[in-house]
Subunit: 201 residues, 2 copies
DNA sequence: TCATTTAATTGACACTATGTCATTGACATA
DNA sequence: TATGTCAATGACATAGTGTCAATTAAATGA
């Protein structure tokens, strides 16, 4: 059912996407121009605009897969019956979140750069944030209902606090300017989150 | 000792700075062009480049005053002898940090936008981060030496965790998308930081 | 006072990038 | 074979940047 023409079109779009990814990695997002991309893809200038609205659009398409993976991590189940169990589940989710980002280090760097540059990509990232935060909010509500967590705290506020810390350490790790290992970071974040800096020790 | 010419020059630079600030507020950082600025300042196009290297340079100059104020908040003394006292000092510092940002709401929004756009401005902001983080690191070391804080935690890691939360809530408040009041946010952040989510209650 | 030097100001220019659109030509269709 | 369709194209209009030679007006000094 797919004729030569359609194959050709799909092929061209793929070529452009691959070229865009390569150029993004080599030059960064800001430095990349449409001309760089079409030159690498060996297509005419106008061809880029047949398949993509603009530079952002290339990255949005490339982001889709990673976005899906983040959404999966965000929606992991959380039904602990003890504090110990809760801590284990939390550590596990953080590890998945950070590992996923680290597996796509270069790509995440491009996304970081683009967030500050393109409102559409910022909105995409905000979507990921919102999914994690609402999922964590549910988790805290559950923990409160089981008398595991401090019932006086506002779940959505605590969820944001927790996610923001995770996100910032993620960017730190992506940039490679953390002196500590990922595991050390995970352990510390979790201890503070669950027990606090001034807890009994 | 200042002659007419020098006065003229200072006046022109001031005019440009005021114009830049106004245009940044009206159009945002990205949308603003040099032509917008010189048009508002009623100077020739080339004049902008006599006093400023480029658009970033305008904002860098405008940032200086706020940067100083952040540096002051970062270097507040911290020598508590009880946990209660520690908590009070922490709450106080956070309140000053968030208040300062909120007093300059529109300006902070511009800075946020520019951080993602200009590596130089990002570096400036990273400087503020670093000052806060190293100051908080010292505070934690002090608290550990007085047996107030968990001695097993790595101070610089905890400091980053704490500052990142503060920073992210600051941007939230700046954007006006927090449902909660600043005081609620401060209280929650501090409780989690010092006692943890799962602490005795 | 007037000629000369010095310095602030200027806009035209060269350059780079974007997004559009009329044109082209190869494939599909009858 | 003739005709229609659509992917591909690059020239063009537009918009922004940063530079620099020319201009203008103040400072200097004989």
């Amino acid at each position: 059912m797919i004729n030569t023409r359609q194959k050709q079109a799909i092929e061209t779009k793929k070529k452009l996407l691959k070229a865009a990814e390569a150029v993004f990695f080599e030059q960064g997002f800001q430095q990349t121009t449409i001309r760089h991309i079409i030159s690498r893809a060996q297509t005419g200038y106008g061809t880029a605009y047949v398949y993509f609205k603009n530079k952002d659009d290339f990255l949005i398409e490339l982001m889709k897969e990673v976005m899906e993976q983040f959404y999966e991590v965000a929606s992991l189940p959380f039904t602990p019956s003890t504090k110990k169990e809760a801590q284990d589940l939390i550590v596990n989710q953080v590890r998945l979140f950070l590992s996923l980002a680290m597996e796509r280090k270069e790509f995440m760097r491009i996304i970081k750069e683009a967030i500050g540059n393109s409102p559409v990509i910022e909105a995409n990232w905000q979507n990921i944030r919102d999914r994690f935060i609402s999922s964590i909010t549910q988790d805290i509500l559950y923990a409160q209902s089981k008398s595991l967590a401090n019932p006086q705290l506002i779940p959505s506020l605590v969820a944001r606090s927790w996610f923001y810390t995770n996100e910032m350490f993620m960017w730190e790790l992506i940039n490679g300017d953390s002196a500590e290992s990922m595991e050390e970071i995970i352990q510390h974040m979790t201890v503070i989150y669950t027990n606090g800096l001034y807890s009994s020790h």
